[in-house]
């Protein structure tokens, strides 16, 4: 169908991203905004921005990803719900078919995906520790009274990066304070921090993985010049930062929606961005786990559920 578009939406811990692609898989519109604790509202406002920018777009498929994927999928009506690891890999392979390694660092998690011949063969995600992700860089920038953009610019200027302990972020912070107190330059400290974060990532998440170029670096943190420089120095090769590096998860979701080619999209219409979608919780009493299940309510009607340890409630609409 002419004018048929595919929408990908990625709502994670820090940001909500949205990408609209056309039938030729070209990005028509993209949006990045902070969630600020309201995943559903962020998704709705991103959708409103899309409607304002491309009012004529007809959505033939919708893909949702990110840690809030189930909530968003139920509220907006998604055809494909995919985890963010697969979505990111899919987008990276689409952008660089010869990619061998994908490094993706987001707000609270960091992943490495190993790709060979356009197939994901291995992946790892940070476990039990979120050192070196976007949240930490955010917090440190704030402590230095810098915006994250200034932080990024400063890091590139550094000539002699300071050594910072990067194993634990709290100790990294103590070390940073100490280095400030003995008079290191701020840009060197900032770059030192980036190097410590990159080293931590390579030592923890990438342990035992074969990192081969070409390497694609994406996710929110890939916008940070300091982190780009740190990885390039440590890995001894130039990293590829794709054009849409901030919204690759959403791009992946859109591509997956396109690939699944639903006969009729389950998208509930652009009007959902105006309605107050509410959620309510109930405790499932069917076993001793007593899971809390979330019901997503739109105009008095339950449009989906999420939560719970078993799959009983997942995505189920209608009365209990």
């Amino acid at each position: 169908m002419k004018n048929s578009h595919y929408l990908g939406i990625d709502v994670g811990s820090i940001s909500a991203n949205l990408v609209l692609i056309d039938a030729g898989a070209q990005v028509v519109f993209s949006d990045y905004r902070r969630v600020d604790g309201w995943p559903l509202r962020a998704a709705q406002s991103a959708l409103a921005a899309l409607r304002a920018a491309c009012p004529q777009a007809i959505l033939a498929g919708v893909g949702a990803t990110g840690s809030a994927r189930h909530l968003v999928a139920a509220a907006l009506g998604a055809d494909v719900v995919q985890n963010e690891i697969s979505a990111h890999a899919c987008a990276a392979i689409h952008v660089r078919p010869d990619v061998q390694t994908v490094i993706e660092i987001g707000g609270q998690d960091s992943k490495v995906t190993i790709v060979r011949d356009r197939v994901v063969v291995d992946f790892a995600m940070n476990l039990l520790c979120a050192a070196g992700t976007g949240s930490f860089l955010d917090a440190q920038a704030q402590r230095l009274n810098l915006t994250i953009e200034e932080f990024s610019r400063q890091a590139v200027r550094s000539a002699r990066p300071t050594g910072i302990a990067g194993r634990c972020t709290v100790f990294a912070e103590s070390d940073m304070i100490h280095k400030q107190q003995i008079g290191h330059r701020q840009e060197d400290i900032v770059m030192g921090l980036c190097l410590a974060m990159a080293r931590n990532f390579l030592g923890n998440v990438c342990v035992g993985k074969e990192i081969r170029p070409p390497i694609v670096f994406q996710g929110g943190v890939s916008a940070n010049q300091g982190m780009r420089r740190a990885f390039a120095e440590l890995l001894n090769c130039e990293l590829i930062v794709p054009e849409h590096h901030m919204v690759m998860g959403a791009l992946g979701a859109a591509l997956l929606a396109k690939r699944s080619a639903p006969a009729a999209s389950r998208f509930r219409g652009f009007d959902v961005c105006e309605r107050a979608i509410d959620t309510q919780a109930f405790a499932c009493g069917d076993c001793a786990n007593a899971c809390e299940v979330i019901e997503i309510v739109d105009r008095g009607e339950i449009v989906g559920r999420s939560g719970g340890r078993c799959r009983k409630w997942e995505g189920r609409a209608g009365p209990r």
Partner: protein
């Protein structure tokens, strides 16, 4: 009134374990899986660095003591891991909290284990009980196997689990060996009646690692069900029936005998490192030989034996081209994180399967 005896929870096998102590003229007290409340109590009372299994088990005994149970029993065999000290530590924790529950160990201690010495059952009912417990254990093994197979291809999500629960309830009611046998005979036709999608090709995923986590569906975040829902036929390598054969060394020639496992693992691991670490290595090799699509290795964070074989598993994964997903669990593990990893793992295996199908023997 019969005194109560709290039994260490062990997934669906709890009902078999419960059957085993009925001859002691006690009322068994157990749970089929840890609950959030159990874990909360356990985490509060346990040292921070103890493993998740310890915390869950401690919480379980605290709950039992609060329910007025005076006796408990748990495995504390030699040569495993820190498990050998768990009974003593738990006893101490209970005492410090002013709870009056005595935990018997099942260790070697003279000819008669202290538990039997205390309750002193008549020999004939005792043996009958053992036979019942053994039959029930094997029945649970059979049920688990059926569930794994059906869950991956069921048309309506949740059918297999529902049927599993019904069958377990029936099995729990069975009082004698003939009754148990009759009950087991109904399993196959009942599972065959579940509507399945024949066109779906399930992934085959082996689950290995630490025993409590493999069996407790609360602690492992319902791993089996999540994978089943993603279209994977799992094989959980901890089956108590198989394990009992190991312990009593009856089936020297069975596929899971200690001797066989040792021989299988020898190229990678020559010594016992405690727990089920050697089994993990051997079973991973077996998974590669039998053409499994992947393996999920499950361990509580800080589990000494399982963590020590992780580098071996990584090497093995490269040598044998077998994808292995490492999952560590503690009380802070996020459910979403677990699900995300499993989904990504399954979709990766799916892609691999499409590009180059593994040979299935």
């Amino acid at each position: 009134m019969k005194p109560g005896l709290a039994i260490q929870p062990w997934g669906n096998y709890s009902l078999a374990l419960a059957a085993s102590v009925e001859c002691l003229r006690v009322e068994p007290w157990t749970q089929r899986s840890t609950t959030p409340e159990t874990l909360r109590l356990g985490v509060e009372a346990s040292p921070e660095f103890a493993c998740l299994s310890f915390k869950a088990c401690t919480g379980h005994f605290i709950q039992a003591a609060q329910a007025g149970i005076r006796y408990g029993v748990m495995v504390n065999s030699r040569g495993t891991c820190r498990l050998r000290y768990y009974r003593e530590i738990q006893q101490k924790i209970l005492k410090e909290r002013g709870l009056d529950l005595f935990i018997f160990g099942l260790g070697y201690d003279g000819i008669k284990p202290p538990l039997i010495r205390h309750f002193d059952p008549d020999p004939i009912p005792f043996l009958q009980c053992c036979a019942r417990a053994q039959q029930k254990t094997l029945a649970v093994d059979a049920l688990e196997r059926e569930t794994w197979r059906v869950r991956a291809v069921e048309r309506r999500p949740g059918d297999a689990t529902r049927l599993l629960n019904e069958c377990l309830a029936d099995l729990d009611r069975a009082r004698s060996v003939p009754e148990i046998r009759a009950c087991v005979r109904t399993f196959k036709p009942r599972f065959a009646a579940v509507p399945i999608d024949e066109t779906r090709v399930p992934l085959r995923i082996g689950l290995l690692g630490e025993a409590t986590l493999l069996r407790d569906r609360y602690l492992n975040h319902n791993l089996e069900e999540i994978l089943g829902g993603l279209g994977a036929e799992v094989r959980n390598f901890f089956l108590l029936g198989d394990e009992m054969r190991n312990i009593f060394r009856i089936g020297l020639f069975s596929r899971n005998s200690r001797w066989r496992l040792k021989r299988l693992a020898r190229p990678y691991l020559e010594n016992l490192v405690g727990g089920h670490a050697l089994d993990s290595v051997a079973h991973a090799i077996r998974c590669a030989q039998e053409g499994f699509d992947g393996v999920v290795h499950v361990a509580p964070a800080g589990c000494m034996p399982e963590v020590s074989v992780r580098p071996i598993l990584r090497r093995l994964s490269q040598d044998l081209d077998l994808p292995i997903l490492e999952c560590s669990f503690d009380e802070h593990a996020s459910h979403v994180g677990v699900v995300t990893r499993l989904e990504a793992f399954a979709s990766m295996l799916r892609e691999r399967q499409e590009k180059k199908p593994r040979k299935r023997p």
